[in-house]
């Protein structure tokens, strides 16, 4: 059967004495059928999703709503100062009288604030912002720049980022195991490798989105809109134009390519060296090669984890910025990866594929899932509280659709699922050792982080034209099928126990 990635075909083949071991994991035809059919059904759903017309909602004025909401937060004064687009305002408010009431309260706050602080220089900028957003609202009526047209693309980005988290989080975790010379996890490294090899697939998905965005097939990233950097254009936005040195299509595409090369390349090299090590005589040569590689990757990832989050997710809300955003995204991705690893190790243990792994190892993986759920909440709240407290229009725009608008129920539910649920289910020591508890928490945490990514992307990309349809479900099935295919075929490729890893004995004797 065709391998999903040419890189994977380049991996060295193990000598037959190793691949004939009795405890080899087998990628059964049943699982192949499951993975293949998930991918195919997902692909069909995606095609349906991409060929659906989502614009029907905008006839009711939905399309403008978010631009409208953001206007209000961004510059309550802007409308009055510039007198921009009064008809559109009236139209949107008519359709969303209910929201307007909510936003009015915010306006008052913003007004009070602005009259104190935004008297001079800042005020000019804020007014401009309002102009630009008003221009968006204009476009909302046109057929070409309807935000609802972004819907399938945005759904695909949500799924790409979510599944990327599984791959890149695991790759980072694998790199830590080598860089810190971790002992307890040596018996699990093959599982980490198999999941880390998946990283290239969502990266290719995002590259696809970046290229199609550059070709103006969609305007998921608002700064890619035509004429937005051009002072002569009606669409000109001086704030976004000020970011042109970083946010331009060629540099963006190059960065996306660079992440693909660095991340997928590291995953491939770590895997290749590990397979080579199996066929080598006992020794530590490969271990230290791996360690250098892992340490290099961690340094590069320290930078690229943040920049990739700015590029792919934060630049959707182009005006808005948060210095914490990279860590926040990383924390969500890492906890997703830990959750998937917990489920996968649980599955392998239940099927007796990992007899050298016991409840102590599972407990430690569970601790990571628990601790990073809390860490994610910490970062989420750190970002939220500072913005809530300072209440500066240019920052608070981000939370208006999410916390005052229609997204609020999703937002609150997501926080509960990602924080309160894991903390209550996983806090006790025994819970991290019992499959039922881990599995229960894992399902909620995965769903919660999918929703987190959804709420990060959707308000900026499609406004209130959100939903859960073929495009969203198709992306999940498509990636889930590919994930199963890559991971299980990689698990089946080599013995699940490393042959020459120096920490293996320590891992087998691990207890707490």
């Amino acid at each position: 059967m065709l391998c999903p990635l040419p890189l994977i075909r380049l991996l060295p083949n193990l000598p037959p004495n190793l691949t004939a071991l009795e405890d080899m994991f087998v990628f059964t035809s049943k699982m192949k059928l499951l993975a293949g059919s998930l991918t195919l059904v997902g692909l069909v759903f995606l095609l349906i999703g991409f060929n659906t017309d989502y614009s029907s909602h905008s006839a009711e004025g939905h399309g403008d709503a978010v631009a409208h909401a953001e206007d209000h937060g961004a510059a309550a004064h802007g409308e009055a100062a510039s007198g921009a687009a009064p008809t559109e305002e009236a139209h949107a408010e008519e359709a969303h009288a209910e929201e307007a009431v909510v936003m009015d309260a915010v306006d008052e706050e913003a007004e009070a604030h602005e009259s104190m602080e935004h008297a001079d220089a800042d005020h000019a900028a804020v007014t401009h912002e309002a102009d630009a957003h008003a221009a968006d609202a204009h476009e909302g009526h046109g057929a070409t720049h309807d935000l609802s047209a972004n819907r399938p693309w945005a759904a695909f980005l949500v799924n790409s980022i979510f599944f990327l988290g599984i791959g890149i989080g695991t790759l980072f975790f694998l790199a830590i195991q080598y860089a810190a010379q971790v002992g307890w996890s040596a018996g699990l490294i093959r599982v980490f490798e198999a999941v880390a090899m998946f990283v290239s697939i969502p990266l290719l998905g995002i590259l696809f989105l970046a290229v199609t965005g550059g070709m103006h097939m969609h305007h998921l990233w608002h700064w890619m809109a035509e004429g937005i950097m051009d002072p002569a254009s009606a669409n000109y936005d001086p704030i976004i134009a000020g970011k042109e040195a970083y946010l331009n299509v060629p540099f963006f595409t190059v960065r996306t390519l660079a992440y693909l090369v660095i991340w997928a390349g590291t995953a491939y090299l770590l895997r290749r060296n590990s397979l080579r090590e199996d066929a080598m005589p006992k020794g530590q040569n490969m271990f230290f090669t791996q360690r250098k590689l892992a340490a290099t990757f961690i340094v590069l990832y320290a930078v690229t984890s943040s920049t990739s989050a700015w590029d792919w997710v934060m630049s959707i809300d182009t005006h808005w910025f948060s210095t914490l955003f990279g860590w926040y995204t990383f924390a969500g991705m890492f906890v997703t990866a830990m959750t998937v690893l917990n489920l996968l190790v649980m599955y392998l243990r239940l099927n007796n594929h990992l007899p050298w792994i016991n409840a102590n190892h599972q407990h430690d993986l569970g601790k990571f899932m628990f601790a990073f759920s809390v860490f994610w909440t910490y970062l989420w709240f750190s970002q939220y509280m500072l913005i809530w407290y300072s209440n500066i229009p240019e920052e608070v725009t981000y939370y208006l659709p999410r916390f005052k608008g229609e997204y609020k129920p999703l937002f609150v539910m997501m926080v509960a699922m990602n924080f309160i649920f894991p903390i209550l289910v996983l806090m006790s020591r025994d819970a991290k050792r019992i499959f039922g508890f881990i599995g229960l928490a894992a399902v909620f945490v995965l769903a919660g982080h999918w929703m987190d990514h959804y709420i990060m992307i959707m308000p900026g990309a499609v406004g209130y034209d959100y939903g859960f349809g073929f495009a969203e479900l198709g992306g999940i099935l498509f990636y889930a099928g590919l994930f199963l295919w890559v991971t299980l075929s990689q698990l089946a490729k080599a013995p699940l126990k490393l042959q020459n890893h120096p920490m293996l004995t320590e891992s087998e004797h691990f207890h707490q």
């Binding site: 509280m385 809530w388 806090m427």
Partner: protein
Amino acid sequence: MAHTTEPTPVVRALYHDDDVLISAVKEIRAAGYQISEVYTPFPVHGLDKAMGLKETRIAMAAFMYGLLGLTVAVTLTWYMMINDWPQNIGGKPNYNWGMNMPAFVPILFELTVFFAAHLMVWTYLVINGLYPGADAQNPDPRTTDDYFMVELPAADGLVDVLKKSGAVEIAEA
């Protein structure tokens, strides 16, 4: 942990390695002898299981202390900032506690951790008889440096078992 204040004679065996200690503890218990205490210079992972100690309930206590801290913090912030003397700080709503809650989260968090950590430490010290002013229970000062000691009531054939288990020194007292 059990105190060995009863006058019955005890045997003390010294070990020089934590891995040897754990396997020795398992051997001694397998041979049918009851270990009363083990002294180590640092925490040895897996020793509690090898000794067959019952699971600690300190985690449940810590959870309760955390809840207590959370309750104290909610009461404190509500009384001070909402009920007794509401102030307009940065234009934040102070009509009721819930509206101003995000501003209180750092306090809620800190007091939860403070109560859980401090009360857990004190509970641990008191239950183990390590409160300030308590007499040191240390038959051999070398166990604070690089030796591990197993203490158990004297019995027939015990010394042979201890020797076989890798003890470097055996004393009867």
